[in-house]
Amino acid sequence: MNRNGNTYTFIYAAIMVILVAAVLASVSMALKPRQQKNVEIEKKQNILASVNIESSAENAEELYAEKIVNEYVVNVNGEQVEGDAFTTDLKKERAKDPEDMVLPVFECQTEDGLKYVLPVRGAGLWGPIWGYVSLNEDMNTIYGANFDHEGETPGLGAEISSTPFEEPFKGKTIFDESGNLVSILILKSGQVAPEEHSVDGISGGTITSKGLEKMLQDDFNSYKEFLIKKKS
């Protein structure tokens, strides 16, 4: 057959594309359950990490079942509503009107008492960033924080998921003395802000840092009524 002819080229391209598609589709289907399991375990690990509990992929499910004593969803008015906290997709909730939005809350029993874990989600430089922030029972002091990202620049924005960045969040407060929600500010060097409401940003990762700051602001704002209700 003429290897430079149109027929050959068309047949070759068609067979190649069908073959490759079949291989990729079957591999993807075969591996899907494993991948989903990994994602689920990672979520549990992240929730546990926000209350400073180290877990490995092996013991995460067990620890999660033991430590997380209660999980429920609330609406923006801070009322508990029907829904499953673990499977609630914050991305979809964000797209809804504030009245319809449901927000997951996880209650975790630790050695230092009951902690409330709030998921947060926002935008970094290249893609979504998200995380879990745990609060003490005063609903003001941060007990721990864990952040993650989809594709921030390694070594720069991606540093938000590293311990040196997350560690300083501990002990910071999100309400000021007069009870206003100030959230946590992420600073560039040279900027000044009250010590108890701010942490240092990442050099070379300013847009990610600012995205994280906005994420915390927005999401604490949605939880505001819930926090105030629980506080009193």
């Binding site: 070759y12 391209a13 490759v20 494993r34 990672e42 290249w126 594709g151 390694p154 070594g155 991606a158």
Partner: protein
């Protein structure tokens, strides 16, 4: 016809790209990813390994197909082979070594756009037998990887004072702790990668005279 697997000519396929025809410093290919991933040593190493796997496999596959590929759509065929391999690698990493796949994140996708891979498929694998293509792939990926690791080493050491995440510069040296030293913040930004690559090219050419053009 039957020459030994590691004949002199074949060894040259492996060793040439590391120095005389290094893809980054001599052919100036794959620069974009060399700038993007080298802020730290670890991603540089991981990227080097992934490119080696993809380049060697893609070279072998294209070399096996070389007598059937229609000339007019050969670039598309090469791209499909590369993209399919990269997606396969990505899926397998996600299922079996989830934490490694998390570290790689966007790099896996970036491998597809690496011009070294297209370059070697087009220039070598299309005209040579599978074993030679395999060696050529390993050699070129190694030449690329070596530069990546050198750049990553200096950028992380001078930019963050650490290597693979471990602190190398003692805390007490820092000005903040009363010392005399400060990390060079410019090192973590991409322009410095270009300058480090430039320095490597300079050093390499002063050692290897035949690379100097008039």
């Amino acid at each position: 016809m039957s020459e030994p697997l590691f004949s002199k000519k074949n060894i040259k396929l492996l060793s040439d790209p590391i120095n005389d025809s290094n893809p980054i410093t001599v052919q100036v290919l794959g620069i974009c990813s060399a700038l993007a991933v080298t802020a730290q040593l670890k991603p540089s190493i991981v990227m080097a390994i992934s490119v080696t796997a993809v380049l060697a496999l893609a070279n072998v596959i294209v070399s096996l197909l070389r007598n059937t590929i229609p000339n007019r759509i050969r670039i598309i065929v090469q791209l499909v082979v590369i993209a399919a391999l990269v997606i396969l690698v990505d899926q397998i990493l996600k299922a079996y070594v989830y934490d490694v796949s998390k570290q790689l994140s966007v790099f896996v996708g970036l491998i597809i756009t690496n011009c070294i891979i297209m370059g070697r498929l087009e220039a070598f694998a299309l005209g040579n037998r599978p074993w030679q293509s395999f060696l050529d792939g390993i050699g070129n990926a190694a030449g690329y990887g070596v530069i990546l690791i050198i750049v990553g080493f200096f950028r992380e050491l001078l930019g963050s004072g650490s290597l693979l995440g471990y602190k190398i510069i003692p805390e007490s040296w820092y000005i903040a702790n009363g010392g005399f030293y400060e990390n060079n913040g410019l090192m973590v930004l991409s322009p410095m990668a270009l300058i480090v690559v430039g320095v490597i090219i300079w050093v390499q050419r002063s050692k290897n005279r035949k690379l100097i053009e008039n």
